[in-house]
Amino acid sequence: MREPTTPPPVASATPLLEVDEVSVRFGAIQALDRVSLEIGRGEIVAIIGPNGAGKTTLLNVISGFYHPTAGRIRFEGRDRTRLRPYDVAALGIARTFQNVALFKGMSVLDNIMTGRLLKMRGSFLWEALYWGPAMRQELAHREFVERIIDFLEIEAIRKAGAGTLPYGLQKRVELARALAAEPTLLLLDEPMAGMNVEEKEDMCRFILGVNDEFGTTIALIEHDMSVVMDISDRVIALDYGRKIADGRPDEVRADEGVIDAYLGVSHA
């Protein structure tokens, strides 16, 4: 479905994303403490950890909503530590939010179309007249968006107001909007929170499908360990802002430090 614009680099080349000794501090709270990690092209990486471990902060740093107090971030080999969110989006990093950030007053279709804004070019004059190249452009974008709608099986709700949908569907629409930007790296903040088993299974299917069909690299935060084990190629565990494990899902699950972080140990 997606035509790669640049030939994919050799597998051994630089990873897609490098986070290098990144720290974030809010006043007295050290949200991230010298975290380093790499995400390779085409991977699905799960970020796990107890509440307050710094998972969302990590996502916010990568997508430019926070800037690190120390450390560097490189995307496709280029330093982009201090970019702003919209520059990050222009680079090809899309994200969803923990508490669904949809445009609630707009229809599902319009919501997903906003994901194409960065891809739109051309003269405002033509757009105003809705004629010539502008109309062809709008139609082309509409077509792409329809394919995403098909892919995520939300045809039936495309005209519905985004704010009126049940939570599970809102999360799906948010994913659709992120996909509309044709991202290289997709960041998902708890894509399955608050979903029932059936919805979770659907979401897993979509995430794997996106990775498969579009070749999109995905980093997601997830609490449900069975989901994490099922879909991720690699798991990174955080605790108190530090990285405590990084490896294959079964390795991380067996890691003593991770078990301690989740179950708690008495250090008496």
Binding site: Y86, F97, G115, L117, R177, A178
Partner: protein
């Protein structure tokens, strides 16, 4: 009792039918005034659409624009140059507002942004007077405030020019913000700052564009009202007349601002001329607010506002 009913329901209609030419004059005067209200309301709508904030300072922006224009002309600048300079000043103002007021308050509650615009209101008021003085100034744009006759109906040249200018400006803005991708970006920004950023909308650029557009609208409104009644502090009070227009038309609708303005303009003129004498006149000053109040009861989102759907 019957007398009162007759006076309210029948008498005014008989008067209207009795002199159609006079009725036409009243309606035309109302439409002209209405377009001017639309113009001011449009400034509010633009900013409300893009930042979700009710800009309390819109009226003072009108005053400030007119003061700047007159001030520059008093210092010998020809009209065109003064106009260009004023546009530059309003653009710089938009830039400064984005930097100093909006950027630090991103993602804050609406009420906080609203309070910030109240602060902006007082700052601009003081700053304008500091720079340009507080005496009443005459603004002459070369269009005489006189009338000519069309089919036995008096038409005022200044009002006609103002109406045409307003109509053109409103049409251009409506098309630009409804049909281009900026329009979609605007709605996105107004809906959710964070989400808009995440899909690559440069929030700051959008804000500068919108506040500049609101500044441009303020200049036109300032010139038109200023030419009619002189440039003075009371110019900032026309913002109050935009409130009922917004309630009628809906806060986020450009066509709503236009239609709302026309309804208020015509409505208050008709009320003043035909129903005014029943209560001793001076209805014009409060008629719009009563109409808005009635509207709030029946259709709080306005004629063209987005329907308020609450998920239960």
């Amino acid at each position: 009792m019957l007398d009162i009913l007759y006076g309210v329901l029948v008498g005014p209609l008989k008067d209207m039918a009795g002199s159609p030419a006079f009725l036409a004059e009243v309606v035309i005067g109302g439409l002209a005034a209405g377009l001017m209200y639309s113009l001011v309301a449009l400034g509010f709508v633009l900013i409300y659409k893009a930042s979700g904030v009710f800009n309390f300072a819109q009226g003072v922006m009108v005053l400030f624009a007119a003061l700047t224009l007159v001030g520059l002309m008093e210092r010998g600048a020809p009209l065109v140059l003064a106009l260009l300079l004023t546009m530059a000043v309003m653009g710089a103002l938009a830039f400064a507002i984005e930097r100093v007021v909006l950027r630090p308050l991103v993602n804050q509650e609406q009420i906080i942004l609203f309070m910030a615009t109240i602060g902006l209101n007082f700052f601009l008021e003081g700053f304008g007077e500091l720079v340009w003085g507080s005496n009443v100034k005459r603004l002459d744009v070369g269009i005489p405030d006189s009338s000519f006759m069309v089919w036995g109906v008096q038409v005022n040249r200044l009002e006609l020019t103002a109406a045409i200018t307003a109509a053109v400006l409103v049409a251009v803005m409506a098309v630009f913000f409804q049909r281009t991708r900026i329009g979609r970006a605007l709605r996105a920004v107004a809906d959710d700052h964070e989400a808009a950023l995440s899909i690559g909308i440069p929030l700051n650029t959008i804000w500068i564009v919108v506040w500049s557009a609101a500044g441009l609208v303020a200049i036109v409104a300032g010139i038109m009202w200023g030419a009619k009644s002189g440039v003075q502090f009371s110019l900032s009070l026309i913002a109050l007349k935009a409130l009922p227009v917004l309630i009628l038309g809906g806060f986020e609708s450009v066509p709503g601002a236009i239609v709302g303005g026309l309804i208020i303009g015509v409505g208050e003129k008709l009320a003043e001329v035909y129903w005014g004498p029943l209560v001793g006149g001076a209805i014009e000053n409060w008629f719009a607010y009563v109409l808005a109040l009635a509207f709030l009861l029946v259709r709080p989102q306005g004629l063209f506002g987005e329907r308020i759907i609450e998920r239960v």
